[in-house]
């Protein structure tokens, strides 16, 4: 039996992974909650966010503060790309079968992965940690990089910010109303069409931000899009599609299951998360904190 400090350290590493996942999955969940579109391309936004952050750092250098501008620039670019995709293409598929929307976003995945390969090649890229967060501290007996600590704090901060946006502002109220009844909202004089674009942009922004922030921790490689989208699906399904705190909870559970699954039965840690997803879908299809769809 490993000692307590080791378990805590393991749990912290799971938690760090969970915070990244939360950033990405919250965008996916937001888009599903309002637009009812399951966006396969969300993983591609994450990947492109990472590549763009790399590119911006390459252009701007790694001076103090430069990294953060690169991250912000990447996330904003992705938001604009998302807005264009929604405005020009996706909106024409809203009335159609869900299958068409799903396959459309899958088509985007294929295109984006090849475009990234063409632009940045297939070799692994990586960024060093930004100045100011290069050190590490001893936490529970293991060294924890300051950048990871920063992510551990940033996750809940962004969660809180998003929650305030959704629950304490007028824009948030309108977004929540759109998730419930878009026709009624339109009748009340809200421009639902642009609201959808806005929500899609916000969701894409979160995906791109997750990708940009992950660059100092993980290698930037082709295939990271597909890897993350499967994980993000699991997280939102466990927590509840369209549920905000559900996504947070799902991400935390996912991180812990993965971190401890590796300790208990290493071979079956991938298996355990898919099994968890299947069990949740069977017992509570709408997820742990979600609400049944009343279609």
């Amino acid at each position: 039996m490993p000692d307590l400090s080791f378990l805590l350290a393991q749990s912290l590493s799971g938690l760090t992974a969970a915070m990244f996942l939360f950033l990405i999955a919250s965008g996916l969940s937001l888009i599903f909650g309002v637009l009812r579109v399951l966006n396969f391309a969300h993983g591609s936004f994450y990947m492109l966010g990472a590549y763009l952050a790399f590119q911006f750092v390459l252009w701007g250098g790694m001076g103090p503060g430069r990294f953060w501008w690169a991250v912000l620039g990447a996330a904003l670019t992705i938001a604009i790309v998302g807005g264009l995709v929604e405005r020009l293409l996706l909106r024409h598929l809203y009335g159609k079968d869900e299958l068409y929307q799903l396959l459309f976003t899958y088509g985007l995945v294929l295109i984006a992965s090849d475009a990234a390969k063409k632009a940045w090649g297939t070799q692994q890229l990586s960024l060093s940690r930004p100045p100011g967060l290069t050190g590490s501290s001893r936490v529970f007996g293991t060294m924890l990089p300051h950048y990871n600590l920063f992510i551990l704090l940033l996750g809940p901060t962004i969660a809180l910010g998003l929650w305030l946006l959704l629950n304490r502002t007028r824009a948030g109220r309108v977004i929540r109303a759109a998730a419930l009844d878009r026709e009624m909202l339109g009748a009340l004089g809200v421009n639902v069409s642009w609201l959808y674009t806005g929500v899609f942009m916000l969701g894409s922004f979160l995906g791109g931000l997750g990708g940009a922030l992950v660059t100092p921790v993980r290698a930037i490689v082709p295939g990271m899009d597909v890897e993350i989208i499967v994980e993000a699906f699991i997280v939102v399904v466990i927590g509840g599609l369209g549920s905000f705190w559900g996504t947070f909870l799902g991400a935390v559970i996912y991180g812990q299951v993965l971190a401890f699954g590796i300790l208990i039965v290493p071979a079956f840690s991938i298996f355990s998360v898919f099994a968890l997803m299947a069990v949740v879908l069977i017992v509570r299809p709408w997820g742990l904190l979600g609400q049944p769809l009343g279609t």
Binding site: L99, G107, L281
Partner: protein, 326 residues
């Protein structure tokens, strides 16, 4: 109209199957290779369409049953030296058993949740085949699945000069044709009609006393059975079985074939398989960016020809008829 009815009476399926038998005699070894691929994937796609087109059930994990069939057939033939005539039906049966097990839970969900659960089960199958080294060969997969003993076919006049892979092709065409014939019977049976009714309006179908879930489950099992047979054939054709067979891009590939051909007709998915495989061969010969082409094709298709190739052709034929009558 009369011309159309006369055209419809021609047994096209049989003609195509017989014509396909001559591919090894005319074309090179490469053509036979591509034709085998097309025949197997056609069966896989048509089996999916029983759910997608006829039942209105979007399965995002059909590769699970393809993979299970492939592993079952491969393990039986390679490790246990079971003859092909036993191994292939066993593979189909095992896939059907898993389809029954997974489907039992899946048909309880609707729409997007159904798709997600089929995906989750397929990922479980993939994860198990990826990690269970002692049985599936794990990440490396299982290579050198033997060809079935087809020396009997050499006695058939005209087949004597064929290679083993040609013999296997002839066998594949025969088996796929038989499976498609059975599936066509299923679709045209009262059960098939009911399945379409459920797709159109599940509530009403429930009202007239039909057990909707049981019918959907049965469709799920039949689709799994034939996907398993396709998988078994594919493992032999591919000379090996790998975890990729059950991975989700495989599921989306077969979905794309189905949509490309048109899920509104019985043979549409088979035509989609034909087009996609030939296109893949052509395009990969001069660019490595096949996914880019596929993605562009898929999006164009969704916007311009949502009924697929067969749907678009059907529309064209109707328009021509109207012009002639006018």
């Amino acid at each position: 109209m009369a011309a159309r009815r006369r055209l419809a009476r021609v047994p096209w399926g049989l003609l195509v199957a017989v014509a396909a038998l001559f591919v090894p005699a005319i074309g090179s070894r490469f053509y036979t290779f591509v034709a085998t691929d097309i025949a197997i994937m056609a069966l896989f796609a048509v089996s999916l369409n029983l759910l997608l087109g006829y039942g209105g059930l979007v399965s995002f994990g059909h590769a699970a049953y393809f993979g299970i069939g492939a592993y079952a057939c491969g393990i039986l033939m390679k490790v246990h030296a079971v003859p092909f005539s036993v191994a292939l039906p066993a593979a189909g049966l095992l896939a059907a058993v898993f389809a029954a097990l997974f489907g039992f839970f899946c048909v309880r969900l609707t729409k997007i949740y159904f798709a997600m659960l089929t995906l989750a089960f397929a990922q479980i199958v993939w994860a198990v085949s990826f990690k269970w080294n002692s049985v599936t060969g794990g990440e490396q997969g299982m290579s050198d699945v033997p060809y079935p003993d087809l020396s009997g076919l050499a006695w058939v006049p005209g087949l004597a000069g064929y290679r083993t892979s040609d013999h296997f092709y002839v066998l594949t065409v025969g088996l796929v044709a038989a499976c498609l014939w059975i599936l066509r019977r299923v679709v045209r049976s009262p059960f098939g009609r009911l399945l379409t009714t459920i797709r159109e309006n599940p509530e009403r179908t429930e009202f007239i006393g039909v057990d909707v879930r049981r019918h959907e489950l049965l469709a799920f099992i039949i689709a799994g059975l034939f996907a398993g047979i396709a998988g078994g054939l594919f493992g032999i054709f591919n000379r090996g079985v790998f975890p990729d067979f059950a991975y989700w891009p495989k599921s989306s590939d077969v979905l794309i074939m189905t949509i490309l051909g048109g899920m509104g007709s019985f043979y549409g998915p088979a035509i989609g398989a034909l087009i996609l495989i030939i296109l893949n061969q052509e395009i990969t010969s001069y660019t490595e960016y096949w996914p880019f082409v596929l993605g562009t094709l898929l999006i164009t298709l969704l916007f311009l020809f949502p009924g697929g190739v067969v749907g678009a052709l059907g529309g064209l034929v109707r328009r021509l008829e109207r012009m002639r009558r006018a």
